[in-house]
């Protein structure tokens, strides 16, 4: 139950991208995405250049595209929104495939999809090539407040434990005939969420006591590289 602290997106590897210091990767991601977001929407060749840069990084990292692409489904709700834009936007109308749509809307939707997808692919590349511990160390190096880094560290550490708790509770409810999707069972669902809160909070108290008994004085020791 405590095993597998690696997260679901990490793709094990030893490429230069995997080995690069996490703080540089974080800075590169933010700089790259700011550049992408600031690119005017009709500079098509520049978008192609952005994509080429990103794809070459992925190529060097040796993370297969067929690993990354299915994980881009996270942006599907947003793509649906982008599909709607040409129909609701104002401006001169053009006819595409026999349907009247707004021309600026079409352009805006194109930019939304391209920028959003570049963002998701770039973030996926970071997540696939960087262990969560490395991300934490990178944030520490970038002078993120220590409290934020340690809260994030606890979250990364207990993510699988708490979601495991939730999964077992859901299994127990389902095996007793509860359908978590039906609003009729919301009271049951909410009680189990309440129980999950109490379990998480009490786990936090026990972790704190365990830390105190090991000499915790309000500051975490440096995040050392675990062998």
């Amino acid at each position: 139950m405590g095993a597998g602290h690696g997260h679901r997106l990490h793709f094990h590897g030893h490429s230069p991208v995997h080995r690069a210091p996490a703080h540089l990767k974080l800075l590169a991601l933010v700089a790259f995405m700011l550049l992408v977001v600031a690119t005017p929407r009709d500079w098509y060749p520049v978008f192609a250049a952005h994509l080429a840069v990103l794809l070459s990084v992925i190529l060097v990292s040796r993370v297969p595209l067929r690993y990354l692409l299915p994980r881009m489904v996270i942006e599907v709700p947003f793509l649906l929104f982008a599909l709607l834009v040409p129909f609701v936007a104002h401006g001169p109308q053009v006819e595409v495939l026999g349907v009247e749509v707004s021309e600026p809307g079409l352009l805006a939707a194109f930019a939304l999809v391209v920028k959003g997808s570049l963002g998701v692919l770039a973030s996926l590349t970071l997540a696939a090539t960087t262990e969560p511990d490395e991300v934490l160390r990178g944030l520490q190096r970038l002078r993120m407040p220590a409290l934020i880094v340690s809260i994030m560290g606890f979250m990364v550490r207990y993510l699988d434990v708490v979601t495991g708790d939730l999964a077992r509770m859901t299994t127990a409810m389902r095996s007793r005939g509860c359908d978590p999707r039906s609003p009729r069972h919301w009271p049951t669902l909410a009680r189990s969420l309440g129980a999950l809160f109490i379990r998480s909070y009490e786990r936090g108290e026990r972790v704190h006591l365990a830390m105190l008994s090991r000499g915790y004085d309000g500051a975490l020791p440096d995040l050392r590289r675990t062998p």
Binding site: F78, S123, L147, S200
Partner: protein, 230 residues
């Protein structure tokens, strides 16, 4: 409701990033008052709980489902400052490790969900708590109203940001109507879940609910003797 990269232009994204950093800095100071040296482990576990809670989807209707944003819920359970920290860290983990929500939109997401969601949720809750009679049974309904209002409030602030730095030529009035209307529906689901969760925690461990502490302090110890009717 995670805003992706490219939805708002670069200046707006940077500006909301500054707002988010300032808000988180204030929360860092305040959380020490709420939790002292327990802050890191407690907030970490509560952040994990909020993340797990967000994994539970509930059907909104028309085939789509919404999930808990948890701003008002976290504020009532652990206090506003810790709640801001928890939600911000959840968004940070989602952006960096799960590719959910754009990295340049992180400031926007923190501003909307952590700052607006928690501040409006807690503000409404504190107001109701001051007005309503001090009874433990009223904590959960007050939290529900707070949740109901905090979600459309976040949607309204998003619309304002969209009007300033939106990259899509859509009429702002139409966006406002669609966003607020849609989020009233999501807010209703959020309110029901928040009410039930807070109610169940108040029933079992009322001492854990930050928002219920003044109510508990007003309670008197009552000693009943068997066989004696008061």
């Amino acid at each position: 409701m995670h805003v992706p990269d490219g939805f708002l232009d670069a200046p707006t994204s940077v500006a909301t990033g500054v707002v988010a950093a300032a808000g988180v800095a204030v929360a860092l100071r305040g959380a020490h008052r709420e939790l002292d040296d327990k802050t890191a482990p407690m907030a970490g576990l509560v952040a994990t709980f909020v993340f797990a809670g967000q994994m539970m989807n509930f059907p909104v209707g028309a085939g789509t489902s919404g999930h808990l944003l948890g701003g008002a819920l976290a504020a009532v359970l652990v206090g506003p400052f810790t709640a801001v920290l928890c939600i911000s860290v959840v968004l940070l983990v989602q952006a960096l490790l799960m590719a959910d929500g754009g990295i340049t939109a992180l400031g926007t997401n923190i501003t909307l969900m952590a700052l607006v969601g928690v501040v409006v949720g807690w503000g409404v809750f504190a107001l109701l708590r001051a007005v309503l009679p001090k009874r433990a049974a009223l904590v959960a309904p007050a939290a529900a109203v707070a949740a109901l209002l905090s979600v459309p409030a976040a949607a309204a602030v998003f619309t304002a940001l969209f009007a300033i730095g939106g990259t899509v030529p859509v009429d702002t009035g139409a966006v406002l109507a669609a966003m607020v209307g849609w989020h009233v529906v999501i807010g209703t689901g959020e309110a029901v879940i928040t009410c039930l969760v807070v109610g169940s925690v108040v029933a079992v461990r009322p001492d854990l609910v930050y928002g219920a502490r003044p109510v508990l302090a007003a309670r008197r110890l009552e000693i009943r003797r068997p066989g004696v009717t008061a």
